[in-house]
């Protein structure tokens, strides 16, 4: 009960505190709504038992798997925001003598509360969207809003799952506070990224390529899908391991050659935490990945659609195309949200610093430029790296002819441009957060 009372006290929103509370709620809401909608869409394929049913089910699972990573990323960044915004206050509580378990309970409680509120909103949003999503046509008929209603138990499970995700993120974010109450405030250690990551990455990619090459010889549709899902997950894990290391290498050279304040700050910001820099843009690695898959699928459809085929096959191809676009669109939406959340929390985290730099006369333009640069330079690396990794993974199955077909290349290029544009929008959209922080320089007195 005491935990609850103090949580309420600390949750009282101040000027910037409001953003820190609203943002995770919105992000949790969007993530939940998209997850439920995707699940509902996938479920509609599972009631049937005709000859194509199996193919549809496999493809639906593939789409779900492709969306899982951006979803977890979004949920994770929302959870991190809600937990990390409290670091300062929690460190203070620790300094005041609150014990470790108490601080842990408080953080987890707060994060879970925000997550549950957001997820509940997400359920409402999902329900509101069903009539619209129901208009989408698969197998020659619109899905219909009714078919998209999930079992209430599933919905409840999703809400609980989102809450759990928040709890886990909070606990992870908390370890720093618990270990060193002063460390969190002072940010003493710049975490190192180990070169072992590269080795590990190459090994896993190699293993995945081998695994993918194997079944393509006998080509069972389900096997391919399963292997693809595993390959996708593995390749993503690899990118997550290797990405920060590569980003750090580039930032080091950027630091050496930095001539302007914004370049210097940007390079140092990335070096401070290559993992955080990676997280901010890793969403794009998802869209690039999905784009390579999608592009290949579209090229495959293009290759066979000239031929004569039974009606059901034609419908299947059209449906795959629809599915590909929906998957792309949803992953983009989720990435857009995580970038917004990530950027806003990055600014709020540095509130005091930005205010003091403004007072010293650092132009807002310079601060903004440093912020933009610290995101965009890792972005370059992420985009190229993930496209290459995706091509490597998919090559054994699809063959170069399909991956490098015009339809495929076009999709990939459009998605990459779209991804970069999204990041830009995220940066642009969060600029007002920066200007507002500067306009209300008096820190909320507590």
């Amino acid at each position: 009960m005491r935990t609850l009372a103090i949580a309420r006290l600390l949750a009282r929103p101040a000027a910037s505190g409001r953003t820190a509370i609203v943002l995770p709620i919105v992000a949790f809401g969007v993530a939940t709504a998209l997850l439920l909608t995707t699940l509902a869409g996938a479920m509609t394929f599972f009631g049937r038992h005709d000859e194509l049913a199996f193919t549809y089910q496999a493809l639906a699972l593939l789409a779900c798997a492709l969306l899982l990573v951006p979803l977890v990323t979004l949920g994770g960044s929302a959870a991190r925001l809600s937990a990390r915004r409290r670091d300062d206050r929690l460190a203070t509580l620790r300094l005041l003598g609150a014990n470790t378990a108490f601080v842990a309970r408080l953080t987890v409680l707060e994060s879970v509360l925000l997550a549950i509120v957001g997820a509940s909103g997400g359920v409402v949003l999902y329900l509101a969207l069903t009539p619209l999503v129901g208009l989408i046509s698969f197998r020659g008929h619109p899905l219909g809003a009714g078919a998209l209603l999930l079992n209430p138990l599933v919905v409840a499970a999703v809400v609980v799952g989102v809450g759990l995700l928040a709890a886990v993120s909070a606990v992870i974010g908390l370890r720093a506070v618990v270990i060193s109450p002063l460390g969190v405030r002072a940010r003493q250690s710049a975490p190192k990224v180990h070169w072992m990551r590269i080795v590990l990455g190459v090994l896993v990619i190699g293993a995945v390529v081998l695994a993918v090459a194997q079944p393509s010889m006998f080509g069972g549709a389900l096997t391919i899908v399963i292997v693809l899902v595993v390959a996708f997950a593995a390749a993503n894990a690899v990118l997550g391991l290797v990405g920060p290391f590569v980003i750090r290498m580039f930032a080091k050279s950027g630091l050496k050659h930095a001539t302007t304040p914004q370049r210097l700050i940007a390079a140092r910001t990335v070096l401070e935490s290559p993992k955080a820099a990676w997280r901010q843009v890793s969403g794009v690695s998802m869209t690039t990945f999905v784009a390579v898959f999608a592009g290949t699928a579209l090229a495959m459809i293009g290759a066979v659609s000239g031929e004569r085929m039974p009606h059901s096959q034609e419908v299947l191809l059209a449906d795959i195309r629809t599915g590909v676009f929906i998957t792309l669109a949803i992953s983009f939406l989720m990435v857009a949200c995580s970038i917004g959340v990530g950027q806003a929390s990055a600014i709020l985290d540095r509130r005091d610093l930005y205010v003091s730099l403004d007072r010293m006369g650092m132009p807002v333009k310079t601060m903004d430029a440093a912020r933009v640069r610290s995101v965009l330079s890792p972005l370059r690396i992420v985009t190229i790296g993930s496209a290459v990794a995706a091509v490597v993974v998919i090559l054994p199955i699809a063959g170069a002819a399909l991956i490098f077909a015009p339809a495929s290349l076009l999709t990939i290029a459009a998605s990459i441009v779209g991804g970069i544009l999204l990041i830009w929008l995220g940066l642009l959209a969060t600029r007002p957060v920066l200007t507002r922080v500067l306009a209300e320089p008096v820190a909320p007195r507590e």
Binding site: I265, R268, V355, S356, R359, M360, G361, A443
Partner: protein, 259 residues
């Protein structure tokens, strides 16, 4: 004594936040090369005054003149951009917490104001190294801010404020978060690098010991100056009757800086 050159001249400054009259008509002249301590109870308007003097805040009314060798500038008449440029080019700042950029090294933090003015990085870092050495921080150049003690970090902030050779250095409770020994070390550094070099220092403080080391102490109450006493060659003379001192004898309520 020579006719002093007034560098900052505030007259009839007012500034309100809603119903709070943070400044209720302040007149203050600050001479080039002097060290002025601004004191007063919490909420008396010290920070607000400092911010108006430095062009961080625009006053509601009154005039705020900066006199440099090149002429007079009415600071309160400038727009945001121009005031920001003025701060960057002519003033130095030290805040309670150094508020140095945590990702940068000590050296880079000090070099930054120079780079903002367009000094090439290598030159800026050379100058910065010299300032750090001057403040007794040799060997710590490559440390990141979190790896410094509070006093060291604050001396880096002092070095940063000196880097552009500002006309005036503004400090708001620069030693507020330090213990008394460290606090007097930082103050030594601050005074040596400002008035010690003919620069002007305006410092907001709750610490009588620190105020005693400034040439002049200005006391605020409810947004007005109620006392302004100078110390010349170890001899104090008050410009306001000592009777008004009693009200300010009690130490200001110590604000917990634990946000």
């Amino acid at each position: 004594m020579d006719a002093m050159t007034v560098i900052l001249e505030a007259s009839a400054l007012t500034k309100s936040y809603g119903d709070t009259h943070a400044l209720a008509g302040v007149d203050l002249s600050i001479e080039a090369g002097e060290a002025v301590a601004i004191m007063g109870a919490s909420g008396s308007g010290k920070t607000t005054l400092l911010h108006v003097l430095a062009g961080i805040l625009a006053p509601d009314a009154g005039s705020m003149l900066l006199r440099t060798g090149r002429g007079e500038i009415e600071i309160s008449g400038l727009n945001d951009r121009a005031r920001s440029a003025l701060r960057r080019e002519t003033f130095g700042f030290v805040f309670q917490q150094g508020l140095l950029i945590p990702e940068l090294t000590a050296l880079e933090n000090v070099a930054l104001p120079l780079m903002l003015r367009g000094t090439p990085r290598t030159d800026a870092e050379q100058l910065a190294a010299r300032w750090l050495a001057e403040l007794g921080l040799t060997g710590l150049e490559q440390r990141r801010i979190g790896q410094l003690s509070g006093g060291q970090a604050q001396r880096v902030a002092v070095a940063r404020a000196q880097a552009i050779e500002p006309l005036v250095v503004f400090a708001d409770e620069p030693t507020g978060a330090l213990d008394s020994t460290t606090s007097s070390e930082v103050m030594d550094a601050l005074i040596a690098s400002t008035t010690g070099r003919g620069r002007t220092l305006v410092v907001v403080t709750h610490d009588e010991g620190i105020a005693a080391r400034c040439g002049r102490v200005v006391r605020l109450r409810d947004g007005r100056i109620v006392e302004s006493r100078s110390r010349v060659a170890g001899f104090d003379y008050a410009q306001t009757p000592p009777a008004s001192q009693a009200a300010f004898g009690a130490p200001a309520e110590q604000r917990g800086e634990t946000r």
